[in-house]
Symmetry: C2
Subunit: 402 residues, 2 copies
């Protein structure tokens, strides 16, 4: 069986994701789709709308055959680290190829870019430093350095100002770093006004737009035409059970406690917390009555929204720098769910997996997994404050079978 791997958050699964799953399978001629999916905390430093178990179901209903968890250590990290975790795991799953959506849509320019940066790594870093030293932001400096590098090469390269191209580049760079056998492929990303025929057929909206509509209108019908019916019904069930969807506002009372429980010095021990921000975090936590009020107080030019949210994610889950940065690569494959075809694939290939395949966490002692479990417990506890119904802890939940 040929397997294609994809890297997903599914927050929530929508029609654009469905297109991505189907195209990934088609262009790679794969029999099986393996998704490495972030758990309850995501790359922009946010808790997921609904738990990883509900999002796993959405995936399995819509063409994904196996869902494994991208550990917290990677799911909440910046693009290079996020990509390393994802690609390492898809390779460990013995996928033949991984497919990602990009603005570019062709794989050659990605490979050219990766080679260009690899071959000129020192010069690239020197240029970045030079731009940063003139007061230009780090992301902008990266881009300017890359532009300068590009002039040295005649082959077509990708446009690194596009967010999905950036992520795609990091997948390729991660594949190079670990020298994996999995091969890359890319799919032109579907976005409004770009693939008109698809838009007309299937109603594409971004996950961000869908979440915004859910929280603003508090009426699921608003988003019904942008998601598969199975997503709609999973979201509906969640709403019945827990009364609220999860966003930072849901966790604000606990996060506030998490902020006030530390001395300023102790706050800087948490992952991604930059020195110099600790006093402001505590001061504004005392003043704010909601997460949005807190963010408006704390936001400054110095920190991007995502960077602040990542700090807050680690403060919330209590993950320290020391804990987060102790790993070289993923140490296990955590199975969240599978279809019968996925199960057949596992039976055929799992003997070749270089990492342990974990279905039940209770018996496993692994420091990376302990962080996932802690983050899950805290996500569940935050939800409990709003709802009489509880999420089953990671200890109790077996992989979903469909």
């Amino acid at each position: 069986m040929k397997a294609v791997g994809i890297v997903v958050e599914y927050n929530p699964f929508h029609n654009g994701h469905l297109y991505h799953v189907n195209e990934s399978k088609k262009i790679t001629n794969a029999d099986v789709v393996v998704a490495v999916m972030s758990g309850n905390f995501l790359q922009r430093g946010e808790p997921a709308l609904v738990s990883k178990w509900h999002r796993t179901k959405m995936a399995l209903y819509n063409g994904v055959d196996i869902v494994i968890e991208l550990p917290y250590v990677y799911s909440t990290a910046n693009a290079p680290i996020f990509a390393e975790g994802a690609i390492f795991l898809l390779d460990a799953m013995k996928c033949d190829v991984f497919a990602f959506g990009s603005e570019q849509g062709n794989i050659e320019p990605f490979l050219n870019t990766a080679n260009l940066i690899e071959e000129n790594f020192d010069e690239y870093n020197r240029l970045i430093k030079q731009f940063v030293s003139t007061g230009i932001s780090y992301p902008k400096s990266l881009y300017l350095a890359y532009e300068q590098l590009q002039r040295m090469k005649n082959q077509p390269c990708i446009d690194l100002s596009q967010p999905n191209n950036i992520l795609g580049y990091h997948y390729i760079a991660a594949a190079k770093k670990f020298n994996v056998s999995i091969q890359p492929a890319t799919i032109q990303r579907v976005s409004a006004g770009y693939h008109d025929s698809i838009n007309e057929k299937s109603n594409i909206a971004s996950a961000t737009g869908i979440r915004k509509a859910i929280f603003e209108h508090k009426n699921l019908e608003e988003i019904r035409s942008y998601v598969p019916e199975t997503t709609f019904s999973e979201l509906h069930k969640w709403q019945q059970q827990f009364s609220t969807f999860v966003h930072w506002e849901t966790f604000w009372p606990l996060l506030k406690y998490g902020l006030l429980r530390n001395s300023p010095e102790q706050l800087t021990a948490f992952a991604d917390v930059s020195e110099g921000i600790e006093n402001a975090l505590i001061k504004h936590a005392k003043q704010a009555n909601s997460f949005s009020e807190f963010m408006s107080l704390i936001k400054s030019k110095r920190y991007t929204w995502t960077r602040l949210q990542r700090m807050l994610t680690h403060i919330f889950t209590g993950i320290t720098k020391e804990e987060l940065h102790q790993f070289q690569h993923p140490t296990y494959i955590r199975l969240l769910g599978m279809t019968s075809k996925g199960q057949a694939y596992l039976s055929e290939r799992k003997k070749d997996f270089p990492l342990p395949l974990i279905s039940r966490v209770a018996q496993v002692k692994d420091p990376m997994l302990a962080i996932d479990i802690r983050a899950s417990e805290i996500y569940g506890l935050g939800l409990e404050l709003y709802s009489k119904n509880k999420i089953d802890g990671d200890y109790k939940t077996p992989p979903i079978r469909m």
Copy 2:
């Protein structure tokens, strides 16, 4: 003006306390009563029923002229440390004498005991170690060592199996340690069946009994005859405002989060957390749905109830061993409230105070005070989860004047 100092928790202020205030003043012939009172977290490792501000009012209504705060570092500590903080502060307040209730009732045997232990300190410790090594508990070993020591001396000593005698002994020991000029005095403790005439007149019940009645019957009228009318009215106002009185159950959701937010290793960094208990704390926090359920799971012969509650207090407020044990003695006098007579005393004597007298905390940078403020904020936040009404933070609250 002659001042008598007393050491109090007032959780809540009751008729026995009123007797203690009046007797302290009478037997010492004092003009002014200065109380050093624990803040929002108390010596048995519990949050106070109502905030320190409400308890300050109860004191000022009933004969106390000045209330200062016993810092968290001391108010949550074992008897020796608790006593050191209290006596150091009363001496810093230039009180002439401090008066404590005891089963003994005469001061001479206290002085004899303190001298006996001081003069035979090495032998005392050798005996304690010897008893502990045979498997006897530490408190019991202390007592047995003391009994053996006592046989060496002919003068009358106190009975160190009585809780208030123990605390009294530590006050005397603290006074010796700091070589203070404040003089000790003791009052026979009032308890049911002991001072019958007083019992008939004023209805004495312990603060523990009063709290139990409040939580079991949820009807304040039950305790009305055991407290001054002003206490009753303060409790009544609190209940109107916050709907709940504070005990550990109130804070359970936050405490649970505080427990789950750490790795086992990180938990051992908090003050009073003994190595070996960390995994059990996390495991049982996941299982328990209330504080009492948690305590019944965690309780073992190895740890006393008080010791467990002290650990949980520090885990709750996030105070580490390093933070708690950095101090040699109190570093400020925090004024919580005063009567006009108290104010006159301060005007007369404050120029001689060896520590800064703090009325407003906003401008003060002091590591011991920072801990008090943090503990207060967290107490207030825990209450907020239950009530729409907020307690004003320490930053906003000026001393109470009456």
